[in-house]
Symmetry: C2
Subunit: 120 residues, 2 copies
DNA sequence: GGTCATACTTACAAAAGTTATAGTACCCTA
DNA sequence: TAGGGTACTATAACTTTTGTAAGTATGACC
């Protein structure tokens, strides 16, 4: 009855779950520590690396760079480099990224309700 | 301009983000590796520990126990113990947990669209 | 008394994710 | 020649999450 594991890594489990369940696939993509925060800021338009950094005062440059790279790979954002001096790089949501807006809205509503329901 | 960090832990950052942004708060709650998978199975009704284990063949007992405990703490599920022998414990979604259904649906739809858009 | 089933718990280890700190490359300006 | 701004990268340390394997408590059943 119990299926035999073919691999023991965390990653394999994650992939297997995401493969058979689209909500888990989606949750994995938006689940990074800073991913949603970045989305929230980009939803009003494109921003430069330094502007994002200012808006996320607690993030380190490394994490910002890593998250942006991951989000680009996941096709949530588009990166545009302008060959100016000093260098300018702009980040903006892709169509897919913009498509998260209703998800974010629902999540927010659920979060508010959930938080309130805990104060009884 | 840059706010000063009051603590250096990962957790503090997480909390700070969740406090100022409800979608991040919500994402933190549903973001565990197995949380959504468990929700998916409980959405059709209550299940026992062992039944969940069978439905999630790759999960270890430890992870299942941990996740269920966390979900109970987060008020996503309710745990009921029946003083029988052998012991019977049932898990079911709370109202808050059931409230995730539309979120899951949207996430699923977004996931499908996103996956397709990557196959170009 | 020994075995079985259920629903866990514990100790330890590995992996993934995050943070801290410093440094790079580019070219402009003084 | 030195300093400054932007957008990163390198390295290592640290925290959190997940996995492995074994053990516990309860009471029925043989």
């Amino acid at each position: 009855m119990t299926r035999v594991k073919e691999s023991s890594s965390q990653n394999e489990n994650k992939k297997a779950l995401a493969a058979e369940c689209m909500e888990i696939y989606a949750a994995n993509i938006i689940g990074g520590q800073w991913t949603l925060a970045i989305c929230c800021h980009l939803i009003n338009g494109k921003l430069r690396f330094g502007e994002l950094k200012k808006r996320l005062p607690w993030i380190t440059e490394r994490m910002l760079a890593l998250q942006l790279k991951k989000m680009e790979k996941n096709r949530l954002i588009k990166r545009t480099v302008f060959a100016e001096v000093p260098l300018r790089v702009e980040y903006e949501l892709t169509e897919s990224g913009k498509g998260l807006q209703p998800v974010l809205k629902l999540l927010e509503e659920w979060g508010i309700k959930h938080l309130k329901s805990g104060n009884n």
